[in-house]
């Protein structure tokens, strides 16, 4: 998004997004785009980790899902008041912060592969917990809940999601170009060098997971409010893979790529769901994205080279093992 062309493009997209509700009466379309905005926030939070810090999490749905569950449980049990929504938002974000720090402290000290395994384990733990605490969460079937009158208008909620996307995107952009954000990118480029320069890599990584966790929780709250329903699918590892695929396809390490990825994946998914009525083969839409994703990981020189330039410094035999060992 550099240069004048980038800003012009961004402006056009923004204007289109603002006027969309005037162009269509279809509630389905509005809902679809609302979902795109919310998932874009989720994918951006993933990009903070993957694209800007160079750490891979396979349990990111944990934050998204708990956000949705927290707002759902709160509104269901305490009634659909606006105050409860705000309280839920705060609780969800604090919860995301605490869990992110906890997992980070456990796993970020060890080599990078451990973070992936441990986040996967914690993600599954939360998923199973939501599945088994049936009395509390409704198990697999989930539960629906009522939301405040003010948020019930689909057009209004569309603008709320768009506003959230713009505000969160702007804040994350500011964060990433701050000195702290620059250090994160230095860690991504060359962790040992960042350490040698004197930065406490562990602390910066921990901070990065905290920002990503809180942002994902916020996305989860919005998702819960939009669906007015929560089930275990929000905590499933597939949700994490959604964010991963969106980030990679959109271009990791670009932040805005997450928005592109979210739009692309959500739209194609929607399209294939329609086709699934014709043939069940279209239920396997993930194959298509999986293959595209693999090809991008293997060959795409654009976003990936930018995000993983350190690959070129390490290319060759797995000598990384020695250097990465404890």
């Amino acid at each position: 998004m550099r240069g004048r062309l980038g800003y012009v493009l961004l402006g056009i997209i923004l204007i289109l997004a603002v006027v969309l509700p005037f162009l269509t009466d279809s509630r389905a379309t509005l809902n679809l785009f609302t979902r795109i905005f919310i998932l874009a926030i989720f994918a951006m939070s993933y990009d903070i980790l993957l694209g800007y810090t160079g750490i891979v999490s396979f349990g990111h749905a944990l934050f998204f899902g708990s956000g949705a569950y927290i707002i759902g449980l709160l509104l269901k049990n305490a009634g659909p008041g606006l105050v409860n929504v705000l309280a839920g938002l705060v609780v969800a974000m604090v919860f995301g912060l605490v869990v992110a720090l906890l997992i980070g402290v456990l796993s970020l000290r060890v080599r990078d592969t451990y973070f992936a395994m441990i986040t996967l384990a914690f993600g599954e733990l939360f998923f199973i917990a939501a599945l088994k605490l049936r009395a509390f969460t409704g198990g697999e079937d989930g539960f629906s809940f009522r939301i405040p009158e003010l948020l019930r208008d689909r057009v209004g909620f569309y603008y709320l999601a768009l506003l959230a996307l713009i505000v969160v995107g702007g804040m994350l952009r500011t964060f990433l170009s701050s000195p702290t954000g620059k250090v994160l990118q230095a860690i991504r480029e060359n962790e040992r060098r960042a350490q040698a320069v004197g930065y406490d890599v562990f602390r910066y990584k921990l901070f990065s997971t905290a920002v990503a966790g809180v942002t994902a929780s916020l996305a989860g709250v919005l998702y819960g409010l939009q669906e007015r329903f929560v089930s275990t699918s929000v905590l499933s590892v597939e949700k994490t893979f959604d964010a991963l695929i969106m980030t990679i396809i959109g271009g990791s390490g670009t932040l805005y790529g997450a928005i592109v990825g979210s739009a692309l994946v959500t739209l194609v998914h929607e399209w294939f769901s329609g086709l699934a009525r014709l043939s069940p083969i279209f239920e396997r839409w993930l194959i298509l994205f999986g293959i595209v994703y693999i090809l991008i990981v293997l060959f795409f020189p654009g976003g990936l080279v930018r995000a993983f330039t350190y690959l070129t410094q390490r290319k060759g035999l797995p000598s990384a093992r020695r250097t990465d060992a404890l």
Binding site: V56, T113, L120, I294, V297, L298, S319
Partner: protein
């Protein structure tokens, strides 16, 4: 007493099947520093191929052999076409193998459907033996036996053969091995094939153990295998064995008392070991 023996054999049998999955994961990591997230998918394919061949031919031996072959072939193809392209970059490896896992799982659903399928026990292993009042289920003992034989075989392979020496040396220092004139790329492919074959065997054994197979079993068991290698130490053969038995037993015992908490206790176990000894019980390079 009966319940206890029952839980014990169940735990050890499950542990053995997970060991078959974890040992390949661990050695591949030790040698190539690749953490293979597609490993569980190969395990699952082993379970499906095993059940499918068994259903067609009625021969359990043939089912196990075809599962191993299918796994080994998948391992070679994946390693040669994709994974070898990203050696040396942990992040790309993880991203890539997760993508492979996704595609392999979806492909499996295309072939066999997304629902749970039965995975029957062969006739000669049905039922149980009665040892003076202690009832032991035949198939569980069979799984334990196969697991023990394979564990011994892998141990001998690693300690007594030329390939084993190369692999162990490669775990210590890949550049040095290559400097000695050994084509380490071929060794990589062979180890990958071996690890994938063992994972597929583990899947084929696991199927009848639970009686059913589903597209969720890949990720579920992969998670257990991760917990195993974190507990035992990535790259350690003994660690995989001890970790797998520990995880299998914990799972069986805890799920008897509190079925909901089985995974939670295993994750907790992993967290405690990470805090106390981040390299795992047997971590540190030795096989």
């Amino acid at each position: 007493m009966d319940t206890f023996v029952n839980l014990l054999t169940n735990g050890i049998a499950t542990g053995m099947a997970i060991f078959l999955l974890a040992v390949g994961l661990s050695i591949v990591f030790g040698l190539m520093s690749v953490l293979n997230f597609a490993h569980g998918a190969v395990f699952m394919w082993g379970a499906y191929v095993g059940a499918w061949v068994f259903g067609y031919t009625g021969s359990f031996a043939l089912a196990l052999i075809s599962a191993i072959l299918a796994g080994a072939i998948m391992g070679v193809v994946l390693e040669r076409t994709t994974i070898s392209k990203v050696y040396g970059n942990h992040i790309l490896q993880m991203l890539l193998t997760v993508g492979l896992m996704l595609v392999l799982s979806e492909l499996l659903k295309v072939l066999w459907g997304p629902n749970i399928l039965p995975s029957p026990t062969p006739k000669f292993l049905e039922g149980s033996w009665d040892f003076g009042g202690i009832i032991l289920i035949k198939y569980r003992l069979f799984t334990i036996l196969v697991g023990a034989v394979v564990a011994l075989g892998v141990y001998l392979l690693l300690t007594r053969t030329r390939l084993g020496i190369i692999v162990r040396a490669g775990v210590e220092n890949p550049e040095m091995v290559q400097a000695l004139g050994i084509d380490i790329k071929r060794v990589f492919t062979m180890v990958f094939a071996l690890g994938s074959g063992l994972a597929a065997l583990g899947g084929a054994m696991m199927g009848p153990l639970g009686g059913a197979i589903s597209p969720a079993m890949g990720l579920d068991n992969q998670l257990l295998a991760f917990i195993v290698v974190v507990i035992g130490g990535l790259g350690s053969f003994v660690g995989s064995l001890v970790g797998a038995l520990l995880v299998g037993l914990t799972g069986a015992l805890v799920s008897w008392f509190v079925p909901e908490a089985a995974l939670a206790v295993n994750v907790l176990l992993m967290a405690v070991i990470l805090l106390l000894k981040p390299t795992g019980l047997f971590g540190g390079g030795s096989v």
